[in-house]
């Protein structure tokens, strides 16, 4: 395993500050700030309902923040639409998978690749990406007929298809067994290390977070309660109390 700490980290890519999002009386995201640099892998953890997915939704343009700013690669994308965020280079997966059910796996991914390429090239690129996430045998399957696990891989392939500079991965390991998780860890690492993408991953699988993340951010009730190196954060008593639970 590569030593994550010794890897050189690039320049700042994402700067989000003071993000707030309310749902009725509930403050789902509360004054959250977050910086991510090129090639960095950030683990985003926190109890269920802490606001992790909501934060992703703000960063990727699915939700508008009530206040706060987001700038990405020098561009102000606060409140920008999802398609603008995607064009700016933010690719994401959905926790509750949303494949394009009436298209094949290949077409699903081609749709994203069309952002940068004409059709023929887009199809080739799509096939490549599908191969990379290990779905080559499912190329022509209807996305609606996939198992949950394949749908998750498809989410990943779709997020990659727009050739993003930053990937937002929302629990893509959930539902995989231990061996499959190990494969995926390698894959995610390669995105950052080979392709130079920044990655923010929401994950409840501590093993994966610990082995991948350069930095871990912990949310609880919408607030950031801890941020730092994984080894340090998991020992933070607040994190243990809110999220990990003590071993007994």
């Amino acid at each position: 395993m590569m030593d994550t700490a010794s890897r050189s980290i690039g320049k700042e890519l994402l700067r989000a500050s003071g993000l707030v999002r309310r749902f009725g009386g509930l403050v789902a995201v509360n004054e959250v700030s977050l910086n991510v640099t090129d090639r960095e892998i950030v683990g985003l953890i926190g109890p269920n309902g802490a606001g992790k997915t909501s934060l992703f939704n703000i960063l990727s343009g699915q939700l508008g923040p009530d206040s706060g700013n987001v700038s990405f690669a020098g561009q102000d994308i606060t409140g920008a639409s999802a398609s603008v965020c995607a064009r700016a280079g933010i690719g994401r997966t959905f926790q509750i998978v949303k494949p394009l059910v009436s298209l094949t796996v290949h077409e699903n991914v081609t749709v994203g690749a069309l952002l940068n390429y004409p059709l023929a090239t887009a199809r080739e690129k799509a096939a490549e990406i599908i191969g990379r996430v290990g779905m080559r045998s499912l190329l022509d399957r209807q996305a609606g007929s996939l198992t949950l696990e394949s749908r998750k891989r498809l989410e990943l392939a779709r997020a990659l298809s727009i050739e993003p500079r930053m990937l937002l991965l929302d629990e893509i390991l959930a539902g995989l067994n231990a061996s499959e998780i190990n494969e995926s860890i390698h894959l995610i690492r390669s995105f950052a290390h080979q392709d130079g993408l920044a990655v923010i991953m929401i994950e409840h699988n501590l093993h994966a977070v610990m082995s991948l993340a350069d930095k871990v951010v912990v949310l609880d009730y919408g607030r950031k309660i801890a941020e730092g190196k994984p080894e340090v954060v998991v020992r933070d008593p607040a994190v243990v109390a809110a999220y990990l639970g003590s071993d007994d």
Binding site: S81, K98, L103, T110, V111, L119
Partner: protein, 293 residues
């Protein structure tokens, strides 16, 4: 002339092509983009009216009128459809149902321009420049060309960039947007293409029937008929509207010949119902399912 080339059969052939073209234009929106519009007769009627008005009132050649019709219809289509793009599913369908109703009232009341309820009878002046022909063959050629144009556009779109984008938007808007698709723009583009083609259909209808009045061209029945043929033929397939029209338009003719009034429509409705129930993916879709190659 052999019986087959009888004007009546030619007329059915013309109508078959025209309906296939109109339905094909609807199929672009509904079959690919999931925009199940019940307002197509608004575009149809506007297209028909603009050429007819330009020709009968200002003596403008229908060809020029056609161009004006396409632009105006497309513009109006954008203006009235845009708000509806926020609506989903059945809401969209029912909201679009309102367009033709509103248009009919407008046409009825703006009588300085449209001659109101008396409608416009287009004088029979055959010629290429007037797009009025004594021979049904000429109409058939034109209607066939229109149908093939729609088919070609559908083929080009089918699983091409626009087609994929439309299906993406239909299947899941959030997913589509997350891949950089500007969902509203995609819907607008397809609506514009569909409205423009429908306007051409309206133009053709006006020059063929040579009479139009508000209740006939803005009739909801036209919207329904347009949609029906794609549904029966196969929604979201390039051939569907053509197959649907090939089955239903002549069927209606045959039924008229052998059954008068109520029983004809009774059978027509039953055939429609039967097809939807027995071949829910339409004729083309069902055949495809049987023989995948």
């Amino acid at each position: 002339m052999s019986a087959f080339f009888n004007d009546y059969y030619l007329n059915i052939a013309v109508m078959t092509c025209l309906w296939a073209a109109l339905s094909g234009a609807w199929n672009l929106m509904a079959g690919y983009g999931g925009l199940v519009s019940l307002g197509q007769s608004a575009f149809f009627g506007i297209g028909a009216y603009i050429t007819a008005i330009a020709f009968t009132r200002y003596g403008v050649s229908p060809w020029l009128g056609l161009i004006a019709g396409i632009f105006i219809t497309t513009g109006l289509a954008v203006a009235i459809s845009w708000p509806c793009f926020r609506l989903r599913g059945a809401f969209f369908s029912l909201a679009t149902l309102v367009f033709p109703i509103a248009m009919e009232i407008v046409a009825n009341n703006w009588s300085d321009l449209t001659r109101g309820p008396s409608g416009i009878a287009i004088p029979f002046q055959p010629g290429i420049s007037t797009f009025i022909f004594s021979s049904r063959w000429a109409y058939l050629v034109a209607a066939f060309a229109l149908m093939m144009t729609v088919y070609a556009i559908t083929r080009w779109m089918h699983r091409g960039r626009l087609g994929l984008y439309l299906i993406a938007v239909r299947d899941d808007e959030a997913t589509a947007a997350s891949m950089g698709i500007e969902t509203v723009k995609v819907k607008l583009i397809v609506t514009m293409i569909s409205a423009a083609l429908t306007a051409v259909g309206g133009f053709f209808y006006a020059q063929y029937i040579l009479f139009l009045d508000p209740p006939s061209v803005f009739s909801i029945n036209i919207s329904v008929q347009i949609a029906l043929l794609s549904i029966i033929g196969g929604l979201g397939t390039p051939l569907g509207p053509i197959v649907g029209s090939l089955v239903m338009t002549p069927l209606d003719g045959v039924l008229s010949q052998f059954f008068g009034g109520g029983p004809r429509l009774l059978i027509y409705g039953a055939v429609l119902l039967g097809t939807v129930l027995l071949a829910p993916r339409g004729i083309v879709g069902t055949l495809k399912a049987w023989c995948p190659t």
